[in-house]
């Protein structure tokens, strides 16, 4: 049966690559399908800040010619992808989701984008994000990003567009950046797969920083195999980023289907059974752990008492780094920041050095606790978020108390920041839906540089369930009435 355009839009990257190689699908045809979907749906979703229509079409034509010529083809040949507008792209504006950089056009390209292009990928556009990848943006200058499963709900951040575009079939796959959950949170809220790789596995060159010791680029995709494929493309040493590891990059797709028999999996007690975790989320994650056990894994509980402090420790560290980075603009152009960003950075600028120092020590202690748990387990599992995507309006309510700050900022970050603080890989993947139809996400955390075991576990779960195959019920032609139009 001939696949419909919608089937192709939601097809896996690996399937699309096969069709292109076999001359059953033209890269130009595929690109036009995505451009058409962007035209129909992105007025409401606001996943994109910049769509590279003409340049992408030209690249697709070249990709088509290369197929017809019979020459060597890269692993992503003809695949339209998009990247968070935090990655520099030569000649294409890179806004960071901020009015401050509305007209910023870099003269270099981030290494991860160069590698995607070298693999044959076609850059379709630059994706929306919370301002400067911080989170807490109140008014998005390039349009309010919305959750494809319910437009009134938060798509997650900071790589909001990276999650939306993949979930809504507006690109084949995307790249995001994860300092403290920024790939995994949008993946979780939008019902797709997001991987935070081990810190130093992937180059940060050309990625606007937030916190140097935690910033990590990672893929967002609809299947585990696609995630593995993209990781293989972007991983590896980069002379332009001296912190990158010199380890050889393995074939992350090899052994994906080996299953979980014999693997030791620990369910993180504090994050799964804690009072802050929503009942539906807890139930879905416990059911997922039981399925992994039925598939042959040895599953038990593990306690990581310090993870409940992780959100606050992370903010003391990452926000301080951010405040240092932004101090010039905070002094000279404070009103050009979104109100939420400005208040968060101003707060961080006042954190005493002694507090930063204590938080750094607590980070090392938490990291030791996690590594100890990972010495006894191959993978740790827990929810990616304590709840499904909240309403957008909830994040816009004015802050009038300390308790509100804790609830809105520290609690939810305690689920995603432990892996960031420890530098370990962590993957978010769908594991159910709430009664209201919003995705629930399972988080798999692995040992440093052991992405293969994380991906293998995720693949076993994916193959045993159908959560990743569901598509959001999009209504075409809905315009965004709350946000300003995207500047040309």
């Amino acid at each position: 049966m001939t696949p419909t355009p919608d089937d192709l839009a939601f097809a896996s990257v690996t399937h699309v690559v096969r069709l292109v190689r076999d001359r059953q699908l033209s890269p130009v045809e595929l690109l036009r399908i995505y451009l058409d979907r962007i035209e129909r749906h992105d007025g409401a979703l606001r996943a994109y800040i910049t769509v590279l229509g003409d340049a992408a079409l030209e690249a697709a034509r070249r990709a088509e010619a290369a197929v017809m010529d019979g020459g060597p083809l890269g692993p992503l040949h003809g695949v339209p992808y998009a990247v968070k507008d935090q990655f520099a792209t030569t000649g294409v504006r890179t806004t960071l989701g901020s009015r401050l950089l509305e007209h910023h056009v870099p003269s270099e390209t981030a290494t991860v984008v160069s590698r995607m292009q070298a693999a044959g990928g076609i850059l379709l556009g630059k994706l929306n994000l919370t301002e400067f990848a911080l989170g807490g943006t109140q008014q998005f200058p390039f349009g309010q990003p919305r959750n494809p499963w319910n437009l009134e709900h938060d798509p997650g951040g900071s790589s909001s567009g990276s999650g939306i575009a993949v979930a809504a079939g507006l690109c084949a796959a995307s790249l995001g950046e994860d300092t403290g959950g920024s790939v995994r949170s949008p993946a979780a809220f939008c019902g797709v797969i997001g991987l935070r790789p081990t810190w130093s596995l992937v180059s940060r060159h050309g990625c606007f920083p937030l916190s140097w010791s935690m910033d990590t680029a990672g893929p967002v995709a609809r299947t585990v195999e696609d995630t593995a494929l993209l990781l293989g493309v972007i991983a590896g040493h980069d002379p332009a980023d001296p912190t990158t590891s010199r380890r050889p990059v393995p074939d992350y797709r090899a052994g994906l289907d080996e299953g979980v028999r014999g693997l030791r999996i620990g369910v993180v007690r504090e994050l799964t059974y804690g009072a802050e975790t929503d009942v539906e989320v807890r139930s879905a994650v416990m059911t997922a752990a039981q399925r992994l056990e039925k598939l042959g894994a040895r599953v038990d509980e593990v306690s990581l008492p310090l993870v409940t402090l992780a959100g606050a420790v992370f903010m003391a560290l990452a926000d301080s780094d951010g405040a240092g980075l932004h101090q010039h603009w905070l002094r000279t152009r404070p009103l050009d920041y979104d109100q939420g960003t400005r208040r968060r950075l101003l707060t961080a600028a006042l954190i005493p050095a002694a507090t930063y120092h204590q938080a750094s020590r607590a980070r090392a202690l938490l990291r030791a606790q996690m590594h100890e748990a990972l010495a006894r387990h191959d993978v740790l599992v827990c929810p990616t978020a304590h709840q499904a995507a909240p309403p957008i309006a909830a994040g816009r309510a004015p802050i009038t108390s300390r308790a509100q700050v804790a609830g809105r900022f520290f609690t939810r970050r305690s689920y995603v920041t432990p892996a960031a603080l420890a530098g370990t890989p962590a993957l978010a993947m769908p594991c159910g839906f709430t009664d209201a139809g919003l995705p629930i996400s399972l988080q798999l955390i692995g040992r440093r540089f052991d992405e293969r075991t994380v991906l293998r576990t995720a693949r076993a779960y994916e193959a045993d369930t159908d959560w990743s195959r569901r598509r959001p019920p999009l209504s075409p032609g809905v315009a965004d009435v709350d946000s300003p139009r995207r500047p040309a």
Binding site: S245, Q339, R343, L346, R402, A406
Partner: protein, 67 residues
């Protein structure tokens, strides 16, 4: 740490040359006090002997051949 007042926060910010506008002051004060409160349990942890290294070196990777 004692709870900071809006006046405290305003003075601290002015001292580092980063004035906080009146509209922002209440929220910044709540945010700062909330952070200090959330970090209070750190005082009970055995942190004095912990080295605050932000990242661990990749020793295995350092020995791998350059590509």
């Amino acid at each position: 740490m004692n709870e900071l007042t809006e006046r405290d926060v305003s003075t601290m910010a002015a001292a580092i040359g980063l004035p906080v506008a009146v509209d922002d002051l209440t929220e910044v004060t709540h945010r700062l006090n909330a952070l200090f409160e959330a970090l209070t349990p750190l005082a009970d942890l055995p942190l004095d002997t912990v080295e605050p290294n932000p990242v661990l070196p990749d020793l295995d990777g350092g020995l791998a051949p350059r590509t």
